[in-house]
Each structure stands twice: as C-alpha cells, then as structure tokens.
C-alpha cells in the first residue's frame, strides 16, 4: 500500500513546476540550460531547412536607397525636435548632443522605470552637464561614476541617467502658471510606485490654492532659484498636473488629495535623450562600439505563421534585432548552435518602444510605447501610448513606423512599415508590413559586450 502511494505521488511533476517558478524568479540561472534544450529541439526544423531551397537574395538597390533615405529623414527630425525648445533655456555656450537610450531599469514613481542607460560611457560624457533633456522638458540627471546609485560604476561603463521619478533623484523647484493669472510654486519629487503618475508636487507656496485645483493638464515648469548652485535652468517642462482625489457628488465639491505630475514621455518609449556639453570647444569622444550586423538565414517554421528559425555564424543574444532587406522582422530569442527563434512583429505580444515619423514635413516624430493587439501576415493593429509633446487632440498622424530603443541589441530607427491612424482613436494604429516567404538572407544586429552599470 505504501509503495503504491509513493508511486502515485508525482514528485517529478511538482519538482518541475517548482524549478519553473525558480527559473522565472532568477532567469539568469536557467537561461543557459534553456538555450541548449530549446536549441536541441530546434535542430529538427533546422535540418529540414536544408531541403527548403536556397535563401533569397537581398532587395533591389533602389529599395535599399529609399529605406536609407527614410532612416536619414527620421534621424534628422529626431535630432531637430529633441533639441528644439531647450536651447534657449540652457546657459550660453552649452552644446546639445542627442544620445541613444539603450535600456531602462529600476522602478520609480508611478511604477515606471527610473533609470535609463545610454549608448555612451561615463568617460565619453564626462564633460556634459548633469541635466538631461528632451525637447523643452527636463528628464533627469546624468549620473557620475562612484557617486550615489552609480557608486560601483567605472568610467568605462555605459552612462546612466537618473530620471526625476527615482526615489534618490534630487527634488526640483517648480511653478505652474494659470491662464487667468498668477503662479503657484512647489517642489516636485518622485511619486510612490503605486501612484497614478510618476511625480508628485508638494511644499506649495499657497497650499490653500493648491487644494482648490480641480482640472488636470496644467503645465509645470522648473524655476531657477537665485543663488542656488546646481539647480536646473528655469522654464524647462517637468510635466502636466493630474489631480488625484475623490470625485464630487452632485452639488458638492470634489476633494483633491494629491497633485501628481505626469512627465511628457513614458520612460519605456524613450529612444533618444539630449545631453549638454558644457565646454563648447570640446569634441565628442566617440569610442563606443556600434551595433554590428551578422549575416544570417531565416526560415519560416512549418505550421507557425510569423515564427521563424534563424541560423547565424555567431551566438545570438536575446532581444537581437533581425533585419531583412533593410526592414525590421522581429527580435530574436537566442539558442545554442548559432540558432535563434524569431517572432515577427505582428505575431509578437511584447511591449515595443516605437518611433512614428509623420508624413507631414516638419512635424514632430512621436515616441510610442505599444503592443500588438491583433496581428496577421502583413498587418498589425497596435495599441499605443504616444509622448505628450504634441497635444492628443491633434490625433495620430499617418506615416512610417520605426523601432525605438528595445534593448542593447535592438537599436532605434529600423523601419517596420507604413502606419495609418485609426479614425477616432488616438491609441490605435494600423501597420502594413511587407510579407516574405521561404528561406531568405537576413542580418542580426549585435552590440559587442561591455559591462553596464548596475
């Protein structure tokens, strides 16, 4: 009887479930094993791929030239609009430098990331001011190696930016101006993780007036405090107010509990930031390793639309961008034996940082964070949240959709396809993408390994 009971208890099954929970909690320990196991399972379709024909050649030069022109237009537009608005507020002689945001980390106010990693090292940005901006907005502060959160970082590590919503970030003196006249001064600091916005206003100069705020959306700007060293320049946008409290019952006044401040951009959507070089004569040191393209072959996995097997001459890191004929196909999950699995963009359900370049010349590119709601070959419906540098009332424009920053190996500016706004919805976009079939040549983007700050 005892023997029968023992055999009936599925210890192996429960053990495997425990290992899975452990693996999800500490993924770094399980990942190497997973790469080998799934890589071995993928060898069967890989060998079948040998009989599926020769990989198709790359796109025509004219098409590639058109793609290069679109990327150049996006780059120019991003550089112009990211600097515009802050130049006149910064001290004379400071020179803007647009830098790529590679990754985000730490959870700060509003549950949003509060640290952004750049594509340059501390040494390369050593003579930049600590203020980091985007458009006319103050985003946060450039960390210095050996100080505060970066206490363990070395000058050769990738530089990091402490956003205003981090609990260790300095509080900022700010003010809001009312259309009917008058200003209200306050200190803006990080909100709690559970708050509805990333920042919270406190220490009002007129608490009575602050308690009577009823409407959202008032702009909050930095205030230059006379005689205080290290304060950000005045006039930079911090965000827009969001009143948090009890809604009014009929005939009664609503009760405001807190005034939160929503920054103009979700850190997940950040693809570029602006640093300010304080020495106008200094040239930017550019020693960072750029993303390298490795040649690869892509096969469609039989029976799984939008899922591909990739073989490359190098080990593919997780999250590496796969580009085909100059167009973004998807991000890879690296396996052993130089293999990787790729979910095409319409079939993926991960959160994407995206860049939308409007058709209208001179219009600001939108930085979005979005997720595919519905996808099929050649089409994706995405739900997205755009930055708030442009009023939502303006709606979403038609244009071209590019990747934003989606990790170290998935750089911004890879073309996805043509975007059409969904009428009446500011949070939906329809994306048309080219369809490819059969084995074909592709490229995997990889950034050489370098220690990054913790």
């Amino acid at each position: 009887m005892l023997r029968q009971t023992r055999a009936a208890f599925p210890a192996g099954l429960y053990g495997m479930l425990l290992i899975a929970v452990f693996g999800l909690t500490l993924p770094a320990l399980v990942l190497p094993v997973e790469r080998v196991l799934v890589g071995t399972a993928a060898l069967v379709p890989r060998f079948l791929g040998f009989w599926s024909g020769k990989p198709a050649a790359a796109a025509e030069p004219a098409v590639l030239d058109r793609l290069a022109a679109l990327r150049a237009d996006l780059d120019a537009a991003v550089r112009y609009h990211d600097v515009f608005g802050a130049e006149s507020l910064m001290p004379a002689g400071w020179r803007p430098e647009v830098r790529v945001a590679v990754a985000t980390g730490r959870r700060g106010g509003g549950g949003q990331p509060s640290v952004v990693q750049l594509d340059r090292t501390y040494a390369e940005v050593a003579d930049c001011s600590e203020f980091v901006t985007k458009g006319n907005a103050l985003l946060g502060f450039l960390m210095r190696p050996g100080i505060g959160l970066a206490a363990d970082d070395e000058p050769d590590d990738f530089a990091r930016v402490l956003l205003l919503n981090d609990r260790t970030a300095p509080r900022v003196a700010a003010a809001m101006t009312f259309p009917e006249g008058g200003t209200l001064r306050m200190i803006v600091g990080p909100a709690a993780r559970v708050d509805a916005a990333a920042l919270r206003a406190e220490l009002w100069d007129d608490p009575y007036r602050a308690s009577r705020l009823r409407a959202d959306g008032d702009a909050v700007h930095t205030v230059k405090l006379p005689g205080v060293v290290g304060e950000p320049p005045g006039g930079l946008l911090i965000g827009r107010t969001r009143i948090w409290g009890y809604r009014a019952a009929e005939g009664k006044e609503s009760l405001a509990i807190a005034v939160l401040v929503a920054p103009p951009i979700d850190p997940h959507a950040l693809s570029h930031v602006v640093l300010w070089r304080t020495d106008a004569n200094a040239n930017a040191v550019d020693t960072a390793e750029h993303v390298v393209e490795h040649a690869a072959t892509v096969w469609d996995l039989p029976g799984v639309r939008g899922r591909h097997l990739l073989a490359c001459d190098a080990a593919v890191p997780d999250g590496a961008a796969v580009v085909q004929d100059g167009l973004f196909l998807g991000s890879a999950r690296g396996l052993s034996y130089g293999l990787a699995l790729v979910s095409s963009f319409p079939m993926s359900r991960q959160r994407w940082s995206l860049l939308l370049m409007p058709d209208e010349a001179g219009e600001r590119p939108r930085e979005l964070v979005g997720r595919v709601l519905e996808g099929r070959e050649g089409f994706a419906l995405i739900e997205c949240e755009a930055d708030r540098f442009v009023s939502r009332a303006a709606g979403m424009p038609n244009g071209y959709l590019f990747t934003g920053s989606n990790g170290a190996h998935c750089p911004a500016g890879l073309l996805l396809g043509r975007v059409t706004a969904v009428p009446g919805r500011t949070d939906r976009l329809e994306v048309s993408l080219p369809v490819h079939r059969g084995p074909r040549a592709a490229a995997v983007m990889m950034r050489p390994e370098r220690r990054s700050g913790r």
Binding site: A41, L301, S348
Partner: protein
C-alpha cells in the same frame, strides 16, 4: 533510453505538426493534447521528463520562455492528475469535456503568466473555435497516438 530519445525527438515537433493541420482549417492545440495525455494516460513517474519535452515544443512556436510553458502545461496536469482514476479508459464524454476545459484555461494561464513575468505570448488569445475542435478531435486523435511511439511507451497500465 530509446523511448526518451524518441520522446524528445518527436514530442516537440507535434506543435509544428498541429500548426500544419491548423493551416488546413482545423485549429488543433497541441498544448491541450499533451495536457490530456499527461494528466490521464502518462506514466506518472515519467511526468517531469514528458512535461519538459512538451514544453520544449511549445517554446518552438511561442515567444514566452521555457519556464512559462512548463507552468502553462504543468499546472492543468497537476490539477487534473488526482481525477485520473475516474477518467481512466476511453470515457469519451469526459475526455471531450476536459479537453474543452483545458482549451479554455490554457490561454488564460498563458495570459496570467505573461502579465506576472512580463513574458507575453500570442497563445494568450482565447479562441472559441479551438475549444470546439479540441473537444471534438483531440480525444480520438489521442486514442490513435497512444498506440504509437513515443506516446505508447509512456502509457500507464492502470491508475494507482
């Protein structure tokens, strides 16, 4: 040893094969098929290895990580396993009901794991048509599979 080699060679590929069947217009879900086999017919001493083989197959077709797939297949199996004595043998109505139930639960479980561990996957989308086809086609398909390797080699003779 040979039965394990066959399992790890063939079981993951069943996910690709059911994808081909789906292209023909019958959206079968290999996850439900494996859940049914593991919960009601598989040798319970071999469940850990069998579950791993099935999860590897799911990892080929779905973007979430292997650990998520182990949970998505393993949790319904762990819940249904105590009911094995009642369901043993070819009681078609119960198998069809359970297949439909698993087809309903799997997308929700995948969605829950996706939200909890930030590993979203396309299989988190509920499809009523899959529930119907799972209930109708999977029990007879499993009956056929249970007499051929590698499934036959892992079948339990009598429930404990």
């Amino acid at each position: 040893m040979r039965r394990w080699l066959l399992w790890f060679l063939i079981a993951p590929q069943t996910f690709l094969l059911t994808g081909l069947v789906r292209d023909l217009g019958v959206p079968l879900d290999a996850t439900v098929l494996h859940c049914l086999f593991l919960a009601f017919f598989a040798d319970r001493r071999a469940l850990a290895g069998l579950l791993l083989g099935a999860a590897l197959g799911r990892a080929l077709v779905d973007e979430a990580g292997l650990c998520v797939h182990i949970l998505v297949i393993g949790v319904p199996v762990a819940v249904l396993l105590p009911l094995r004595r009642w369901f043993f043998g070819q009681r078609w109505i119960w198998q069809a009901t359970t297949a439909a139930l698993i087809a309903c639960i799997v997308p929700r479980l995948a969605g829950l794991c996706g939200r909890l561990f930030d590993q979203h996957s396309v299989s988190a989308t509920f499809d009523g048509y899959v529930v119907v086809t799972s209930a109708v086609f999977l029990p007879p398909l499993l009956w056929c599979l249970r007499v051929v390797p590698p499934f036959a080699a892992f079948e339990e003779d009598e429930p404990a």
